[in-house]
Subunit: 268 residues, 4 copies
């Protein structure tokens, strides 16, 4: 069944014959294996361009920053899945990745789109402050959350934020989107009515947009990073299982709000 | 409901308070972000140890080698999933990862276990050749395939194999498991009855086991690597869709072998 | 780490002790097993109410209508995943379900929300025709597609539509949302500029909303139904594999649009 | 790239033209929608045969028995995933299904294969008791668990077991595999050294094999059934969220076993 207009698939990422694998125009074996780090290769795969030293440094910093933060919900889901299905490592990793959604890790992308929107307003003549306030105001009017601001644990300041900005500054990255992210933080008390500090999901796009990382793939950064963390957690789960213990603890205070049949719970 | 013995979860990977995130005993912000590459951090997450330069070089080489090989089945599955559900990038990545199973990318782990088995036979006194033949013979007797040997496209020799071995050699890695992998290749014609050349799924564990990568997490290498490739393919899919075109092409020669009701297919 | 307001989980679906499992207030073993069909139980699980005969008939009809339509993209993704990872049936089912997204099967839910919107306009005093035109006009103004109308194969009329409406009519279902769905079909040529016929993703909510099925779970119907179809396809895949053949066919006309290194493709 | 022998995909499940959808040789709209229940259709999809009344009753009973058992690990994983990614219902369902693995719900299939093995020994002349003891003994010798026996909560007897056997008996099902399952239960104390009572994962194949359900698709029964339960839990999660509360509770007693940097945890 034909769905959509195109009937012939196209790609510009990879081709190969019996002797050679070509990735983004380069011979994988001669030019890439042993010559690029994995994160450099990720950037090449994604954009068709090799990253410069600044880009490589900032991209590595963001991947390291977001890969691991303990037994967060997606790691719990992954470890419970592995405990139930230990033969399928790939299934447990997939279960963990499925939690990289709009509420938790997807904020990197929505925050990035917000910064690009503010930058466009500035290109059209607005001041940084006015552009930040206008974009924030529209978000509020639409009833949307401010992506990338506020954190349940790190209330004063997510410590990864300053570190990522420092790395980007030292590496010589374009800091335009960092300034935009800070202007939004400054404007939030007025517009939202309470302070919300920039978190790692705002800092990641703020620094990555300054090194040419494509805004449309920002969600790929936490997904790739968390995959590394998930593989580590599943290696630990295989050695010292916690998946079922997490599940047991999770329901110790569970409240059942529904009806029960007559006699349920009485001694027999 | 309590399942299993343990009721309290344990972890040694990460802890945090409001100010500090600790990963594998180190302060994430002070000691790791901006100081380790993503693949170095992956090794630290997995093992609790920082990789040396040899390990880093070999690990990067394997991740680069296996991340991308064009529109293989798991990439097709991922792109079709994204075409149908473009709002959920994480779902399309998960669909692709679910194809990293025993037949395709899981061979890295089973090949690694085979090499560790041969090494144990050598530790017990067997020669390299005898150990390889004995392990192969047991696999054959059990009716199992030889993991990591043979390739549908690269019949003469998967070009990534020699390159990975060269990188490991130049980087000063322990080559014991490479020699084991080669001894198995040499023994295959006798034991299996036809030559099967080492492919990338044998070369990856052959070089990684020589730099201290844990055999139990070998399947994590293709999973992490392919995640990078999938993110690149999904960025391309978002710009120039091929998912439905792949699906259309896939069924152009589809043969329906079942019965049909009277009159089906006649003009109306 | 605390995320969100609630710290204690609640549920009203199921509780149990050593002797009794209670589901929606009833004793699973005494009152439900052997007494309800699976689709009746699905409705009870979802709503806390037992369906009447009309509801049961219509719900079964929708599940039967949408469970299977051949080697659609999500089935292909599932079969390719199973071919690569045959040990993990659950992973291949999951890969297929991940394609039940906004573009393909999710339209049941968005169409249902459109019908509820039209019904609300009628409750506020609009005529059926005016309400349909107003809702359609807003969708068009927002640049959105019309969910549940048009089909790549069944251009004249998706044959499942009339059948579902006939079943609902015969079963005595409330047909209000069917009339709304038809009014939208009638209004489309004027508002959209070309005719688009109602497809199965509009017919499903049109009939289900008339038997008390909750609009917020409409996407669950194609997901549950397709799970049955996927399990059948994976049983066939285990017997007569097609996953890799689909993948091979899919790329026979693949066009590589990127650059290649000098000498690529020449004889060696 | 060609993988495997076959290059042309085949199917016998479904074909269609512009006017007619054919499933298992029947016209979907004329012969099936409104005429078969969903579980009857599932059996037809899977086997190509319509179930008789006995088969329908037993299949429904097993699907109802296994669909729901409260906030088990896979439901927790699914609800946490939905809390993090509420836009992608299909992703949260997939995460839950990924936990239908060898340890938890996959036991239906391995228990079924055990019963088929015992039946084959009887066909070859062994008595029921001898066949059960021989098969059990081989499992023990291989160090394998006994699939379908023992339960963490229902120690005396999983109440679903007797109910499923009663339904199968009343419906007139062939009870051969039920007797095999009971013979295994009787033999366990001698062979294993402690009593283990039959649980629902043994009762399901015991009754389904007597109505012609294919042993190779037994894992599909809990997968399909749990999909219904997951959809109900995700509808509840959308109304009264518990996903993050489950995650919070799960780690309240978490023990961190790794090192920390100097000064970690001290006041600042």
């Amino acid at each position: 069944m034909k769905i959509g207009k195109s009937t012939v698939p196209h790609t510009a990422i990879c081709t190969s014959d019996e002797h050679t694998i070509v990735v983004r125009g380069e011979d994988l074996c001669e030019a890439l294996i042993g010559k690029l780090s994995f994160s450099e290769y990720f950037f090449l795969l994604l954009t068709g361009r090799r990253p410069d030293a600044t880009c490589r440094t900032v991209l590595d910093a963001t991947l390291v920053a977001i890969a691991e933060h303990g037994l967060v919900p997606s790691v719990q889901a992954s470890r419970m899945t592995f405990a139930a299905a230990p033969d399928a490592l790939q299934g447990a990793v997939a279960a963990g990745i499925l939690g990289c959604g709009s509420v938790i890790l997807g904020a990197s992308e929505t925050a990035g789109r917000l910064f690009v929107d503010v930058a466009a307003r500035m290109d059209a003549g607005a001041t940084l402050d006015d552009a930040a306030r206008a974009a924030l105001g529209e978000l509020r009017a639409a009833g949307a959350a401010i992506p990338g601001y506020g954190h349940p644990l790190h209330k004063a300041r997510d410590p990864r934020v300053d570190r990522l900005i420092a790395v980007a500054t030292e590496a010589g990255a374009d800091l335009r989107h960092v300034r935009i992210a800070q202007a939004i933080e400054d404007a939030i008390p007025d517009i939202v009515g309470k302070p919300l500090r920039m978190n790692v999901s705002a800092a990641i796009p703020a620094v990555l947009l300054g090194v040419g990382f494509p805004v449309g793939s920002l969600r790929g950064v936490p997904i790739l990073a968390r995959t590394a963390g998930l593989i580590a957690h599943l290696a630990e789960e295989a050695e010292t299982p916690s998946g079922f213990a997490l599940s047991y603890q999770a329901t110790r205070e569970l409240q059942y709000d529904g009806p029960v049949p007559a006699g349920f719970g009485s001694a027999r």
